[in-house]
Subunit: 183 residues, 2 copies
Amino acid sequence: MTEFQEYGFHGANLSRIAQRAGIAKGTIYLYYDSKEALFLAAVGKHVVSIMGESEAQVDVPGGTTKELLIHFLRGMYNRFVDSEAQAVFRILIAEGDRMPEVMRDYHAMTVQRGTTLLSKILERGVARGEVRPGSVVRMPHVLMAPTVFFAVHDMMFKNVKPVDFDSFFEAHIDMLMNGCLID
Amino acid sequence: MTEFQEYGFHGANLSRIAQRAGIAKGTIYLYYDSKEALFLAAVGKHVVSIMGESEAQVDVPGGTTKELLIHFLRGMYNRFVDSEAQAVFRILIAEGDRMPEVMRDYHAMTVQRGTTLLSKILERGVARGEVRPGSVVRMPHVLMAPTVFFAVHDMMFKNVKPVDFDSFFEAHIDMLMNGCLID
DNA sequence: CGGCATACTGACCGCTTGGTCATTTTGAGG
DNA sequence: CCTCAAAATGACCAAGCGGTCAGTATGCCG
């Protein structure tokens, strides 16, 4: 995965992968038919592992909607800050077109799952009178958008001008709770 | 650019690039020293062109803060929906590490410029009593995060489960204006 | 210890491709 | 129509890499 992330699919070198793994190049072919098969296996494995963590998130504790949202979003940030998850994310942005079925899985494990859970939290919040019904409830994607932004910004500009996580998270929560305009 | 976007740096093929350009492979080397030089030139040119458009955005018309924000954000979405801008964005995510100085330029032309302008709008809004001061004003990144999310989602999942732009934009504006919680 | 199957190795092969350069084409000026 | 310099060409080369396979190491069992 590291090799693929650093060099991309074409740039990745099987001799180097073998070296990193502490085995000989030929050994790879005892377990995988081709470079592509190895690549798909590596990506697929990590997509599954993300699903596992996401699954655990579904068991949210009781509490106010605000608490639930903070808990859920913090979990998302944690997952994205993880460098292996970021490696998968990055490589799927770059080379996802070559593997539509992996992209379907990835979508199901990330966006689909995330919006589903957010919808549950929000609808529960509407029922409790804690959440204002409206377009945000119908499009929960916008609530997790800053998470993705942070991950992308981190990948691209970590060495140019990093963004402080705590301030960003605070602003994220502040925005989704109150907005920034006075009506 | 198209070739690099489709195959990545390593996967891009100079014969094919020449063919697309309607010239012979050798001709490339009359103008560029190497594949890398060609790549950097292509990316650099598009980074500059994005700067140009961004520059134009600085001339915001007068109006309420809400109007200014909508105008500014709509401009950002338009820029990101453009397929060439997306190609540059995608390739910089994938291969930005190999060209730190390009990344610095790109950061200046996008995030830096965007946050600077947003800050101006917000501070003006605070002065006019239209904007609630707080962490969002200090971290305007979160206001443009959904734009980046939309672009990334579009790149990755266009063929899996596209998101309707109008609904998304509406939710974005709704969130930044009002938040979604009732306090 | 010996026999044997399984796992592993890395030198090797053939193909692809970045890069070169002797040769050809172009077109401006006389 | 000729000359000649600048531009363009594409066959060619060398290097690198995905993939193979004959040979070697390992370790279980009788």
